[in-house]
């Protein structure tokens, strides 16, 4: 994207089958999540992020499908139809929302990079819970190919999942 595009606010062209990291941290294989509900892939294929920052950003252009009332998880649908669940930490539903500042509402359109919520990672750790965050493509069965780009440090500028139809 050139300087003039930036100056004139041209919309960034994103690959519709790419998912960017919703949080900064280390991207790891979903099998590293110590919870079989996520790790076995029954909720969809995915990756996980060991976050270093509590900011959760939109991983693509799309719509907030369901921000859980407790703020610990959010599902989104991309403009191209990817159904994604971001679940911040494990067992965090039991924290009843305390460590989560929700920034978006159900049905809201978001652009890649928009802040969806801010999690207080220290508060999650203090509650004795893991902060590892599964990022799951709930409709991964709609795609022929799934590639997770894991085993490295990532930010919202990095593609962590590449799908092929």
């Amino acid at each position: 994207m050139g300087l003039f595009d930036k100056l004139f606010g041209k919309k960034e062209e994103l690959n519709p089958n790419h998912i960017y990291a919703p949080m900064a941290g280390e991207a790891v294989a979903i099998t590293e999540v110590p919870d079989p509900t996520f790790a076995e892939g029954t909720m969809g294929n995915g990756i996980a992020i060991k976050p270093t920052d509590g900011k959760v950003c939109a991983p693509f252009n799309g719509t907030v499908d369901m921000m859980f009332e407790t703020g610990h998880a959010v599902s989104l649908i991309s403009e191209s139809g990817i159904e994604l669940l971001i679940h911040v930490g494990l067992e965090t539903v039991g924290l009843n929302g305390a460590p989560f500042q929700v920034k978006v509402a159900n049905g809201q359109k978001v652009k890649k990079g928009d802040v969806l919520m801010i999690a207080d990672l220290e508060a999650i750790k203090a509650a004795g819970l893991p902060t590892i965050t599964p990022v799951l493509v709930c409709n991964s069965f709609d795609y022929a190919g799934f590639q997770g780009n894991t085993g490295k440090a990532v930010t919202n500028a990095d593609v962590v999942i590449e799908l092929t139809k």
Binding site: D35, T37, T42, D65, F68, E69, L85, H87
Partner: protein
């Protein structure tokens, strides 16, 4: 067609884990399985749809099972929900 009701006992409602487990259980049957809550209706084989119900403790779900294995599916899903949600 088979139909049964289940009142959610889990204090946390239908959050990601029980929804995921239900999808896994439902995926094992050929029948079409629909979950109706006061908040909407969802295909039990689709995680996002189930989570969108935002079904809470005390809400009554009506589960409809329709297909070749509906007898077995309804009986087993009823037991599954009683144990997990």
């Amino acid at each position: 067609m088979k139909e049964f009701k289940h009142v959610i006992a889990d204090p946390l409602g239908m959050h990601a884990r029980p929804a995921g487990m239900l999808v896994k259980a439902a995926a094992g049957y050929a029948s079409k399985i629909t979950v109706a809550a006061p908040t909407g209706t969802a295909d039990a084989k689709r995680l996002m749809a189930l989570m969108r119900l935002a079904a809470k403790q005390g809400m009554e779900l009506t589960i409809t099972v329709e297909g070749a294995d509906e007898e077995k599916a309804a009986a087993e899903l009823q037991a599954f929900l009683a144990a997990n949600l």
